[in-house]
Symmetry: C2
């Protein structure tokens, strides 16, 4: 007896595309993604490539018309329905290039619905390359099997974030001056949530007061050691996913 | 009224040393640490530097005899007692350079007692530079305020790890083929623990059988998405610290 080949093939490359996908749709691919498929993955005619558009789940497509720098992927069937993403936002201050990239990559893998950059007073970086962050989200989604990309918000100032905060969403924040025990606090507050993480230097006292005064905010402690900003972001996301997300 | 200056000064540099510390001990510093103190931090005579030796807590020392490439730090008083580190080991397969370094850095920040490299069949890397990993642990400990360095084990093969496993220690392992829900499983099993994380390609079926057959092993799921090896290591450590460690 021969084993039935796995469907979709485990080795199939996985690619995010902008086109809305559906059976029979032809997706022209050029640029870097084409280079990746043709020269790195050495895709041949009729090979399967998995596609997702961030909205309609995941689809198997067949390669055809492979040329030097472009090819066509023709969608043949759906392989996974649209993903249910836990309703969790990661709100974090911009930090240095490599470390904010790490936050984007890990936030996507860990399952956040939205990454929201927040400008705070002690931020050492006051602008972000959203295109680069988006590229990290896409790459992580391709790698970790997500079919939905996390939303990436434009950077907002902390006071605007607090002013416009949705009334039905918890705003957990990592307070270096101390907070409630993490696990019990999260467990007691299911439902839509966000974690707010400050920059390397933390929030300034006025900011901390404003956050603490917000009706939906809940200060929590991320333990007795001093975490780097990106460690705090990754750890906070993990803790929420473990206790209130879809890791249960 | 003038505010009393904070003690120890918040801006004091923090350094790990090999010398066993105590009041009155003089610690000669040269090489990179001296360069860091003299040229980067611009330490002047009588400035305070915080020292820890990984065993005796943290100490304030005064700089003296500052020369071009060396100086003396004279210990004046203890600032913190030896740290109580939660009894948690992170056992992980070697992975690519930058990513195993990230595991070492984050494991130290998150509070592990021991980092134990484990060689598995699908490991893409079969040797580790333990000196480099040790340097990452030291740097992270200096940064995050730990007074105890995590132990760093020599690399062991998976079968030896399982054979010599201590009978009183849980061996949680991240099983990509599915496992028990993370939070409840951890909560039901307090006490000494370890998390075993495979390489990028996961454990092979024979290894997985051997791990599952071990009397102390407990398979758990790290959620529905595919985590990179270093993300799994960081997430597993965070989850344990949140539920059973000292983040409570």
């Amino acid at each position: 007896m021969t084993a039935t080949p796995a469907w979709p093939p485990q080795s199939a490359p996985r690619l995010h595309v902008g086109t809305l996908l559906g059976t029979g749709v032809s997706v022209p691919i050029d640029g870097n993604p084409a280079h990746y498929l043709i020269s790195v993955m050495r895709v041949k005619p009729d090979d399967i490539v998995l596609l997702f558009d961030g909205r309609s789940g995941e689809w198997a497509a067949k390669a055809r018309d492979i040329r030097k720098r472009d090819l066509i992927l023709e969608v043949i069937s759906q392989t996974r329905p649209p993903e249910h993403v836990p309703d969790f936002w990661l709100c974090c201050a911009p930090i240095k290039k490599g470390r904010i990239d790490l936050i984007a990559e890990k936030a996507c893998e860990l399952g956040v619905a939205k990454l929201q950059p927040v400008l705070t007073r002690r931020a050492v970086v006051d602008r972000l390359n959203l295109d680069r962050l988006h590229a990290h989200l896409v790459e992580a989604a391709e790698q970790c099997g997500r079919t939905a990309l996390p939303d990436l918000g434009d950077m907002v100032k902390l006071d605007a974030l607090l002013r416009d905060w949705p009334g039905d969403r918890w705003l957990f924040f990592a307070d270096e001056t101390g907070g409630d025990p993490l696990a019990d606090t999260l467990r007691a507050r299911p439902g839509p949530a966000a974690f707010l993480i400050g920059p390397e230097g933390g929030f300034d006292p006025v900011e901390r007061e404003a956050i603490r005064a917000h009706p939906r905010s809940v200060p929590v402690s991320l333990g007795p050691r001093i975490l780097r900003a990106e460690t705090a972001a990754i750890a906070a996301t993990t803790a929420w996913m473990t206790i209130n997300g879809d890791w249960r």
